[in-house]
């Protein structure tokens, strides 16, 4: 194995090869100062030849900017973190920002540790992604860098948080059901102690009230965020006189649809079903494909990143920003 691993070239190497001083080389490469065309050409060629990449560490040490942000997430599965990451990368774009990803796996010790190393690496800012929309303890106290919270807001109102507007999202979903002529609507959702479940229930109630309707069964059916619960719930709901079900998640909706089909119900003819999250792998594969609310996490991530930018530049905002959700209409609510 030859494996000659050329150590990365330094500016001195380039300068030497081009026969100039490092200052001239630096100017030539960065287009600053006065450099004769011929000289610049020689330097550029030398740099090319050595595949010179200016050492970002040295640069950062001087400028005090690393052009790096840390993304601190708690949801290992990446369900929420990934879209946010993508959105953030998007916002940073060709802007040369890099993202350092750390997964705390729900462990606050680990989170603390990651926070330390990110600060040691002098990231310019932090994005904290929660694993749920429930408010979480702030980490921003006296940090030397700005922080934005995505998906899960900070408990501290002085922090900046971006959270999907679940109340409005659920309202949109139910309004859609009403528009499609449904009147007897039930709501099956996740655990009571989840903010998301509460918000979505609230939005559902609001939309029903606006339409002069009441929730079938009187109360939302709280359970867990699983397909299994969706199926169990179906058995209960189907005994009621219902023409639509608003589900708190796509998983629940998928379970519901499956069980309803098993019991001979036609979706959407007998019962319309709407989910929440627009988790494509699920929502696009149910039969029929699922009408659902897209929480637009990628956009949320992009916005969060943009605000982080602004904050890095000293233009701080604060407070919880509710991000609009989007209704994605598929066939589970629309009669052919």
């Amino acid at each position: 194995m030859v494996s000659q691993r050329p150590r990365a070239a330094t500016l001195t190497d380039v300068a030497t090869l081009a026969g100039v001083s490092i200052a001239t080389a630096s100017k030539a490469l960065n287009g600053r100062g006065q450099v004769k065309d011929e000289t610049r050409r020689r330097v550029l060629q030398a740099a090319e030849e050595l595949s010179f990449q200016p050492n970002a560490l040295a640069r950062s040490l001087i400028s005090g900017q690393t052009k790096t942000v840390g993304l601190l997430t708690s949801d290992s599965v990446g369900r929420f973190g990934i879209p946010v990451l993508l959105g953030a990368e998007d916002a940073f774009g060709a802007g040369e920002m890099a993202v350092m990803l750390c997964d705390a796996r729900g462990d606050s010790i680990r989170e603390q540790h990651h926070l330390r190393t990110l600060l040691a690496r002098r990231v310019d800012g932090l994005i904290v992604v929660g694993e749920s929309t429930d408010p979480r303890p702030s980490i921003s106290r006296n940090l030397p860098v700005p922080v934005v919270y995505a998906y899960g807001p900070s408990e501290d109102p002085d922090d900046v948080s971006f959270v999907p507007d679940d109340v409005a999202g659920a309202r949109t979903a139910v309004q859609h059901l009403v528009t499609m002529g449904r009147r007897r609507i039930a709501h099956v959702t996740g655990p009571t102690h989840y903010r998301a479940a509460q918000d979505r229930a609230e939005g559902t109630r609001a939309a029903l009230a606006e339409a002069g309707l009441e929730l079938v069964g009187g109360e939302p059916m709280f359970g867990v965020w699983s397909q299994r619960w969706g199926r169990q719930a179906a058995e209960i709901v189907l005994k009621l006189d219902v023409d639509a079900v608003m589900c708190g998640s796509d998983q629940i909706a998928a379970g519901f649809i499956e069980a309803a089909r098993d019991r001979g119900k036609r979706i959407p003819d007998d019962i319309a079903v709407v989910g929440y999250d627009n988790w494509e792998v699920l929502a696009a594969e149910t039969r029929p494909p699922l009408t659902t609310i897209d929480t637009n996490l990628e956009r949320l991530g992009r916005t969060a990143a943009q605000h982080l930018f602004a904050a890095i530049d000293g233009k701080a905002t604060s407070g919880v920003h509710l991000m609009p959700c989007r209704l994605v209409i598929r066939e589970s609510t629309v009669r052919a």
Copy 2:
């Protein structure tokens, strides 16, 4: 908004506050050299007071090690990248390694660009995660840092790649079916041009041959990696005399099971079904839950990271390493 953002403390600040020179402060903090207990205590307290974090940039500039690796992925959705990332983080563990994540989204220009910035930031090594198990062009030529390929191997045999052993995995799956007394086995899988589909078909054939059996239908049924295809395939397969189906992915298996149930087939009594990937959200939620092959990506990521470590320390391996897969038995193959 007060927002007093204290600039990060420097070693000089600590030294000044403790009333010693920076050298002494450095020694005290790093436990090197001779420092009086009383002095060390003072320094430590000063550091605490200023929440001092040594600037990793300066440190790296000297040591030439950033304790950072770049993870270059192409699968935005994170299906494969995430477990690998988690495994890698695991391997790095408390080892203070950080991961810089870049998503090329299948665009080689973007990949090139990310590669540049990662090198500029002087990462110690790179993990390249493919979006499929198909070999991909090498990026390792003359790079100043070691590279390992995970999931998608490099075309260059001098590189180090870690790939799930799909042939063996499929063989295990089919052997399991045979052990459970199945004899008439069909194979429904993804597109022919996927290496994964080819490998899994090969493993399936091998296991059948060993058992003196032939594939029902003679040929594997190639299609796409979707639930929809699984359902379509079911319509065809159910016309044949079949007591088991080996599916090329969990998605296909989920579709197959659904359609088979619709047609009144009992799983596993009439037909046993085995999937591939152990994609929990799917495999655990089919009815019955799906027996499947776990490609162990997290372990793969961990191993890749460990080898990257070794390579960083100069102990290079090379070649494609096939990583064993694991059979996960659930109820879709086991009669109650």
